[in-house]
């Protein structure tokens, strides 16, 4: 068990390294970073000066070594745009994004699982059809459009909540709602199909044949087994939430990492982009690690095969 986690941690380190390398390559093949900073009209002399300042005149291998070394000591350099170290700027945006994604997931998970489980218990019933429409909407509606519709309906028509900004609950409701809809749909869909699969399995019939209460059969036995695929996509959804956050934060003017990423990209702020990608990658890797740990609890077969070859 411990060996399994240790191995997963090692893998995570490797993945982080790969991500860093990709960031480095991307930053250099998308055009000359110096030109991006100083502009196309700058004199050749100025370009040279800045190139030296930024250590971009060194050979590529040297640059790469420096970059990895700096990244490992959490140095991403000074933001071209804000003229302050990039990483602290990124880190101070984390709480805003985390609040938003946590709220979205906290809404989507229980609601999605409940809707999915209920519709699996009564396939083709009214509740199943309602769930189907809701989840189909969730996976097909573009967040950008949903955000605008919500703004149109609530603040503009009804005068509820705020259109944009950061502060109390009135700023928070609409972005959280927008962000939770897609994972809600996916989780409801997956829960429904996973529960349908599990309920058709022999152990469910056998549990009933032992005289266990139906509540226990469905919500202890079937649900624990159905939780495995639900957990898998919840991990994916958490990663996707960060994607969604880029749009939602931009539309609602929410000061999180997503908005910062867009701003940094618009301003070709290479250190800032590198820092945001790094932080998001770490966030996703940690999420995956947590999901894997939860797996071993849900599915003893993973636990034992992992222990077996350790």
């Amino acid at each position: 068990m411990l060996a399994y986690l240790a191995r997963r941690l090692l893998q995570s380190v490797a993945v982080t390294f790969v991500v860093l390398s990709l960031v480095f390559v991307a930053g250099r093949i998308l055009g000359d970073p110096v030109r991006l900073v100083v502009g196309i009209e700058a004199s050749e002399e100025r370009v040279q000066r800045v190139r030296e300042q930024l250590n971009l005149n060194q050979p590529l291998g040297q640059q790469y070594a420096n970059f990895i070394g700096d990244a490992l000591s959490l140095q991403f350099g000074t933001s071209f745009w804000q003229k302050v170290p990039a990483l602290p700027r990124v880190l101070e945006r984390i709480p805003a994004t985390l609040t938003l994604t946590a709220a979205a997931l906290a809404l989507a998970l229980p609601l999605g699982i409940t809707l999915g489980a209920l519709s699996a218990l009564r396939p083709w019933s009214r509740i199943d059809r309602v769930t189907n429409v809701i989840s189909l909407g969730g996976v097909s509606i573009v967040e950008f459009w949903l955000a605008l519709m919500l703004i149109l309906i609530f603040p503009v028509r009804l005068g509820w909540f705020k259109t944009s900004g950061y502060g109390g609950i009135e700023y928070f409701v609409l972005p959280a709602l927008t962000l939770c809809y897609k994972p809600l749909g996916r989780i409801a869909q997956i829960t429904r199909s996973a529960m349908l699969d599990e309920l058709a399995k022999p152990y469910v019939k056998a549990a009933r044949a032992r005289g266990l209460a139906e509540r226990r059969v469905v919500f202890v036995h079937a649900l624990k087994n159905a939780a495995v695929p639900v957990l898998t996509i919840s991990g994916d959804e958490l990663a996707a939430l960060l994607n969604g956050a880029i749009i939602v934060e931009t539309v609602f003017g929410w000061p999180g990492i997503g908005r910062l990423t867009i701003q940094a990209l618009e301003r070709r702020d290479l250190p800032m982009v590198e820092a945001t990608v790094f932080v998001v990658a770490i966030f996703i890797i940690v999420t995956n690690l947590l999901v894997d740990m939860a797996y071993t609890w849900l599915n003893p077969r993973i636990r034992f095969s992992a222990a077996g070859d350790a």
Binding site: P202, Y203, A206, G211, E214, N225, N299, F304, D309
Partner: protein, 682 residues
Amino acid sequence: MAPSEALLAVRDLRVEFRTAAGLTRAVNGVNFTLDRGETLAILGESGSGKSVSAQAIMGIVDSPPGRIAGGSVRLQGEDLLQLDAEAMRQVRGHRIAMIFQDAQAALDPAFTVGQQISETLRSGGALSPQEATARAIDLLERVKIPEARRRVHDYPHQFSGGMAQRVMIALALALEPEVLIADEPTTALDVTVQAQVMQLLSELQAESGMGLILITHDLGVVAEVADRVAVMYAGKVVETGPIAALYARPGHPYTVGLMDSMPRVDRQEGRLLAIRGSPPNLMRIPAGCAFHPRCALAQDRCSQETPALLPLPDEPGRHSACHFVAEIPGRRRSEVSAEVAGLGASGEEPLLRVEGLVKHFPLRSRSLLRRSPGAVRAVDGVDFELYRGETLGLVGESGCGKSTVARTLLRLERATAGRAWFAGEDLFALRGEALRKMRQHIQMVFQDPYSSLNPRMTAGAIVSEPWEVHEGLAPREEWRARARDLLRRVGLDPDDERRYPHEFSGGQRQRIGIARALAFNPQLIICDEPVSALDVSIQAQIVNLLQDLQQEFGIAVIFIAHDLSVVRHISDRVAVMYMGRIVETGTRDQIYNQPTHPYTQALLSAVPVPDPESEARQRRIILEGEVPGALDPPSGCRFRTRCWKAEPRCAQEVPALIERFGHGHPSACHFAEARATVPVEG
């Protein structure tokens, strides 16, 4: 309870399933009774409604689409069908318990077996968690699970099939039910393990005095344990009665047919007497007697008037639902032993010679840094020869390596070591075009007729595909005529060429698979468990077909099976495998009448014989334990860990497969001696 009242009485039980395709009448008026301490076998093929009847008694038919359409189920006089859901829940597990075919699948993989037993115990009454765990350990000990105290914390996947079924039995016994329903409890198990589980069930029943309903398709198992039998066909009980009388003088044409369809380990026969046709589609059950389209005795009356289940005159306790019951005696085929098929003439070159065949599957280490942790030794030194036109039966329990031998010979797997010559050519050295040419001479018939046919191709296209792949086998303009001819030869309608696999039954699909193999004009067909997925009455048709085609075309056959009765029926010579090695080979008569290796003897004696009066039961050898893991096989003789003859020498010295008893009958045992385990008839 009145003395005349049965423990459980099922009257006119009817169950329907309403689906988009139509109304399926799975159970169509089932009647039987069960007394305290009695074992009633419900015998029937798949789709006969036996499992659905059991689920209806338990109140666990999936609804929708299922619905109990009528009848009564009285447990000590109380009609269970009238109970509300909560009252019925309290009957389940507490008064009637059930065990299932696939015990691994019937246990929740996410909880330990101890948790599942405790949960069941606690649903029965107030019990502290500690008390429940202690009781769970008691129960596991009662079903003879070694080291119960430790294993109570294990998960289902850590148990072997036989052990999982014991856990399932412990779960069923937890609340001390009055009735236990066992739905094909040993069908998924190897034959030696099956004997252990059946013995355990009998012992537990004798201890507790509960009534046992044993649902099975296996006439042998029935004969071993049942007091009475109810034979089901198309959702109805067609015959009931005490086991001995019913087996001696079957009182329904279907029962007669079943008995004759079944190959027996204690007899050898020329042809199996198959029941023609296949069981009816439950959406369109034939009018009158449902069996009449397949019955030799059928007359006009049978298609109009449904026969009632009536007492047989002069036969106490027996009932049969046949209009012409009086004409049945004497209809059973006379049991004459057939001529033994000729062996390859001596001096002839073998078609296939295999020497020292080894196939190891290395385990992949999950870590890049660590070395491979070992290898599964699936096949570990196998030698045999096969002559033209001969059938070699390769038998052994699951995991013994018999299918791996087949896959290696087909070059689907690369042999780790060893050599094989096919028609004089080095089989493992062939490359490219030569290999492709060779492949047309060695064909395979697979176990699963459902997944081995492309669902998007018509039967005609499937059968002619070989000609497309191997140019020169048949000119294109002849394909259609030849495909039709092949379909006819395997017993299908030539017009079936336009139909798709899903339109055929399992037996018919297996016929298509055979036709496809024949299309290559092969010299050797390897059949890997070709009938184990089929119903008994269909099995016989396919076995007969293989036998006929083999005689007609002179093809050599390697027939791989775990079912010793089928192998006895079809093989000229038999090789018995255990843990990747052949432990004994010989002619069919040598192996079945004079087995010399302890494993062969145990294997043969474990096969249930469909004859309640057989003396075989008294001489049964029941092996201890299950097959050890192939990752780390026992030293010396691999069978020694389960062998009653084992001595220190067996652990040190690998017994060679050499002639110890006359010509052509090598045995790999230091202490081999001939011993008839099965009474020889015919």
